[in-house]
């Protein structure tokens, strides 16, 4: 485990330079370390950025880690794995990694805009196309750099590229396949998604259940407010804090559970 992680932090450096320029190399790291190690490595880089370089917010750190190091990296990696099962040989590896790199950037951008819209800062139908289109362009650079670096390493030290990772057993390849397919579909359809809510609303209005549907998926605290607490600002803040603790608790519990179920197949 730890040789794996130590190698991981070394892989970080090219990434650390890249993340500032919004190229994050998650797929590059994932090809060497597997998705778990790459996610950890990228999360470290993000933390250093926000604490030491102040190039990212502390309160947005969770969202950043989710977008870039979890969604971007694992999503891109599964795309890579999926394409890799079709494309054999070194050329296939490079092509698959390029595609994975592109998707990882676009996916993270889409996730970021959805989060921004959910927080009520900006409107989804405005931010999503902008973010996805700009990052589709940035993603091309990411794809080329991922492919170029991998091509070089493949030529010089092909033994560094481990195709079988201890963290991705053979059984989960099917899951990865499905996940990759879903992400690919989502990624391709996202640019068109902005027109959907309107359609949904139209249908909802036609059928006459528009008022009820808001109550259905709103959080327990409507407008981030606990109704019984006064003054109002305290209510808002309390709701915020409770929400943060809740999400943290869920994540923590999930991590503990995953770790326990992982420990019997642990490879040191």
């Amino acid at each position: 485990m730890s040789a794996f992680v130590f190698a991981g932090q070394m892989v970080n450096f090219p990434i650390a330079a890249g993340t500032s320029g919004h190229l994050f190399g998650g797929v590059l790291a994932a090809v060497f370390l597997g998705p778990a190690g790459a996610a950890l490595a990228l999360a470290t880089v993000l933390v250093i950025q926000c604490f030491l370089f102040q190039d990212g917010g502390v309160t947005a750190l969770g969202a950043n880690i989710l977008n870039m190091s979890l969604l971007g990296t694992t999503g891109g990696y599964f795309i890579y794995r999926f394409l890799r099962s079709w494309l054999a040989g070194p050329r296939g590896l490079i092509l698959a990694s390029a595609a994975g790199g592109w998707f990882s950037v676009v996916l993270a951008a889409a996730a970021c805009s959805v989060e921004l819209a959910l927080s009520g800062t900006v409107r989804l139908d405005m931010i999503l196309p902008v973010m996805v289109v700009t990052h589709a362009v940035i993603g091309v650079a990411e794809a080329f750099i991922t492919a170029g670096v991998l091509a070089f390493v493949l030529k010089v030290r092909p033994d560094l590229l481990c195709e079988r990772h201890p963290y991705l057993p053979a059984q989960s390849a099917g899951v990865g396949f499905a996940f990759g397919l879903a992400i690919m579909a989502a990624g391709l359809l996202l640019p068109f998604a902005s027109s959907w809510p309107d359609g949904l609303e139209w249908v909802a209005g036609k059928l006459g259940f528009l008022p009820q549907q808001t109550a259905f998926w709103l959080a327990p605290f409507a407008e981030y407010r606990i109704p019984e607490v006064r003054p109002a600002w305290l209510a808002v803040s309390l709701a915020w804090i409770l929400g943060t603790i809740l999400v943290f608790g869920i994540t923590w519990g999930l991590a503990r559970w995953l770790r326990r179920s992982d420990s019997d197949s642990h490879v040191d």
């Binding site: 485990m1 730890s2 040789a3 992680v5 130590f6 190698a7 991981g8 932090q9 070394m10 892989v11 970080n12 450096f13 090219p14 650390a16 330079a17 060497f32 950890l40 490595a41 470290t44 880089v45 933390v47 250093i48 926000c50 604490f51 030491l52 370089f53 102040q54 190039d55 917010g57 502390v58 309160t59 921004l116 800062t121 900006v122 409107r123 405005m126 931010i127 902008v130 080329f144 750099i145 492919a147 170029g148 670096v149 991998l150 091509a151 070089f152 390493v153 010089v156 030290r157 560094l160 109002a232 600002w233 808002v236 803040s237 915020w240 804090i241 040191d268």
Partner: protein, 204 residues
């Protein structure tokens, strides 16, 4: 760029020397507090700013650094502010967005000004951050400068070989250089890990 030297060398203040964990906690708490302020209570941000000015003056925080950071932040903030313009109560939102972003950045920048690198890592340890992750962070911090110097050396060596780049080859040169930095980093990590094991480092 941030270096391995103690950032506060020469200024002589010892605020966070013995309690880095407390400093980290209060900084993070401060950032959360600033961001938790509801939008209509924006005048309180001025109070926070005044407090920060006082602390910065007391601890000799270089304001130029804040300016540099703000220059980096500016474009992103501007982009987001433009996105907010379509909301009905946009003046309030823009004021809050900019104010909170600047204050948060200031707090973090002040924290790094006060806490040296090794103390920062020690503080995280004290706060019971998982060990493997603290180690990861410490190594990344330690070797960041080493590898960025290696990168500069590689560039210098290439120029010394009277290397002239052609426009067409530029991209291939960049990726090959990155790839070889990658391989060197990987090999260094393996050597280092072997050395640590030989000196009794326990895994996991």
């Amino acid at each position: 760029m941030w270096t391995n030297q103690r950032p506060r060398a020469g200024t002589g203040h010892k605020v966070c020397d013995s309690r880095p964990a407390g400093c980290i906690l209060s900084a993070v708490g401060g950032v959360f507090a600033v961001n938790l302020l509801p939008n209509y209570l924006w005048p309180w941000q001025i109070a926070v700013a005044l407090l920060l000015v006082t602390l910065s003056l007391k601890w000799h925080y270089p304001f130029r650094k804040l300016g540099q950071r703000l220059l980096v932040l500016g474009p992103f903030l501007g982009l987001l502010a433009v996105g907010v313009l379509w909301q009905p109560d946009w003046p309030l939102r823009v004021v809050n967005l900019c104010g909170k972003a600047i204050l948060s950045l200031w707090i973090m920048s002040l924290l790094i000004h006060l806490v040296a690198v090794d103390e920062f890592v020690a503080g995280l340890r004290r706060l019971r951050v998982p060990r493997i992750w603290v180690e990861l962070l410490a190594f990344l911090l330690r070797y960041f400068t080493v590898l960025s110097e290696e990168w500069q050396r590689m560039q210098l060596a290439r120029q010394a070989r009277t290397f002239r780049r052609r426009k067409r080859m530029e991209f291939r040169i960049l990726t090959n250089a990155l790839g070889s930095l990658f391989i060197r980093a990987y090999e260094r990590a393996e050597r280092l890990h072997g050395a640590m094991l030989a000196r009794g480092y326990k895994t996991g």
